[in-house]
């Protein structure tokens, strides 16, 4: 797996406004892949094998579902994953659109948020638990 620090650096590079991607569709696909890399880290750190399956056509969404299994607070990044897919679709379906550079910059910010949330949660596991509070809810609902 690509080290987390490298993922962060690459996301930053792809989102750099001063360095617009020559091939925005490729950059969008790479950002999606970097999101998958982030989720792979989370799943592997918890002893799992990252799935190769797809959900709604995207491995990122399948990985998120896998990562949230038994860890409902992980749903705090569910919409972030979906937004990354949405921005990927916007860019790859119409790479010549006048807003593509802005969309790519936003996709990088979304990917960065996913990276920050997951890497932060790997440092301090409870990140997001107050917010979702799902673990205590379910832990006491046997």
């Amino acid at each position: 797996m690509r080290p987390l620090g490298d993922i962060e650096a690459r996301i930053d590079q792809l989102g750099g406004a001063t360095n617009p991607a020559a091939d925005p569709a490729a950059a969008a696909r790479e950002l999606l892949g970097l999101g998958e890399d982030v989720l792979e880290h989370w799943i592997a750190a918890r002893g799992g094998t990252p799935t190769a399956a797809r959900r709604e056509g995207f491995r990122l969404l399948a990985l998120h579902r896998q990562g949230a299994k038994g860890e409902p607070s992980f749903n705090a990044c569910r919409e972030t994953c979906r937004e990354l897919v949405y921005h990927h679709n916007l860019i790859t379906m119409d790479p010549g659109h006048p807003d593509t550079a802005a969309r790519l910059a936003m996709a990088a910010l979304v990917a960065n948020h996913l990276y920050l949330f997951v890497s932060g949660k790997m440092e301090v596991e409870q990140l997001g638990e107050f917010c979702c509070s799902s673990r205590p809810l379910h832990a006491n609902m046997s």
Binding site: A76, E83, H113, G120, V124, L127, G128, C131, P136, N140
Partner: protein, 308 residues
């Protein structure tokens, strides 16, 4: 419109008496301006917030149930409004626990008897957020009809945070069709501020984590998460982020300052409670809605935008 929301029990919660004072002030001011009655819950207590909940979730359920018990049984209300996402979330969670978990019912009954008040039972009161309150009691047409100072010069990114919609099963009234709130793409704040004239920008991180729970234990992660939200808001073209949670709001303001000191990254997007923006649109003065009480100084900004 929901007539019963025109007079509701008001549960400000601890944050609104401290760091979220401006939210308390602006919520009350907007309610008064709109002719809505807020009757504060008598002798209310902490909802259990994160401190109690993470150690003993059933004790949190009891603490939240006590607030609902007083509002419903002692004060006779059928609706309690909590503007703080944490309080709103915890009261909803308690409601869910008491409807679905016999152990929670037993604990709440035992503690209520010990504390000397009637035991709250699920379904005796409805908990709503300040967004539900204004959206359902007044609505967009009502806002438009009362508009004195359009927000037309403002580009707003609405930030809902993570507690307003998650986990979705404690919000059974949401995702019930076009007039209800969405747990995946919340829009009540968008609707109200658009009715007040603001241009609402697409903000893809509107429900993403602000790292609020780890401001003290992992400050750098919190700062980086907030900085990313601020940069995304600016990239979306917003000149102001509207908030509806005192924890998110304080975090955005404080980490905006910290991001500059710690990482040397300055962002200029303003951060205001949605009730402050609505109040300004309804013709209230900035001080009446507590703009001067925010950490980040937005007084010059609201004047520049013709809102003062």
């Amino acid at each position: 419109m929901e007539e019963r929301y025109k007079k509701v029990a008001y549960y400000p919660g601890c944050a609104l008496e401290g760091s979220g004072h401006a939210y308390n002030r602006s919520t009350k001011a907007v309610g008064e301006k709109l002719g809505l009655d807020l009757v504060e819950v008598k002798n209310w207590n902490c909802c259990g917030a994160m401190e109690v909940k993470n150690i003993d979730p059933k004790l949190q359920t009891y603490l939240s149930s006590r607030v609902m018990s007083i509002a419903a049984k002692e004060m006779g209300f059928d609706t309690v409004m909590a503007p703080c996402n944490g309080c709103y979330h915890n009261l909803k969670k308690a409601e869910y626990d008491l409807a679905n978990d016999p152990d929670s019912v037993e604990v709440v009954d035992r503690l209520s008897k010990k504390a000397g008040h009637e035991t709250y039972e699920a379904g005796e009161i409805e908990t709503i957020h300040a967004l539900d309150w204004i959206k359902q009691a007044i609505g967009e047409d009502g806002i438009r009809a009362r508009l004195e100072n359009s927000l037309k010069n403002l580009k707003v990114a609405n930030y809902y945070g993570c507690m307003y919609t998650r986990p979705r099963h404690i919000f059974p009234e949401k995702d019930q069709g076009p007039d209800s709130e969405s747990t995946t793409q919340p829009h009540f704040m968008d609707d109200l501020l658009a009715a007040a004239g603001a241009e609402i920008v697409d903000f893809p991180l509107k429900t993403s984590c602000c790292g609020g729970a780890h401001t003290l234990s992992d400050s750098d992660t919190s700062t980086k998460l907030v900085l990313n939200l601020l940069r995304a808001a600016e990239a979306s073209g917003a000149d102001v982020i509207a908030t509806e949670c005192p924890t998110c709001h304080s975090g955005l303001e404080m980490h905006q300052v910290r991001a500059e000191k710690r990482f040397g990254v300055k962002t200029s997007v303003k951060i205001l409670y949605f009730t402050q923006l609505l109040g300004l649109a309804l013709g209230l003065k900035p001080k009446k809605v507590g703009v001067h009480e925010n950490i980040s100084d937005s007084m010059a900004f609201v004047k520049e935008k013709g809102l003062a």
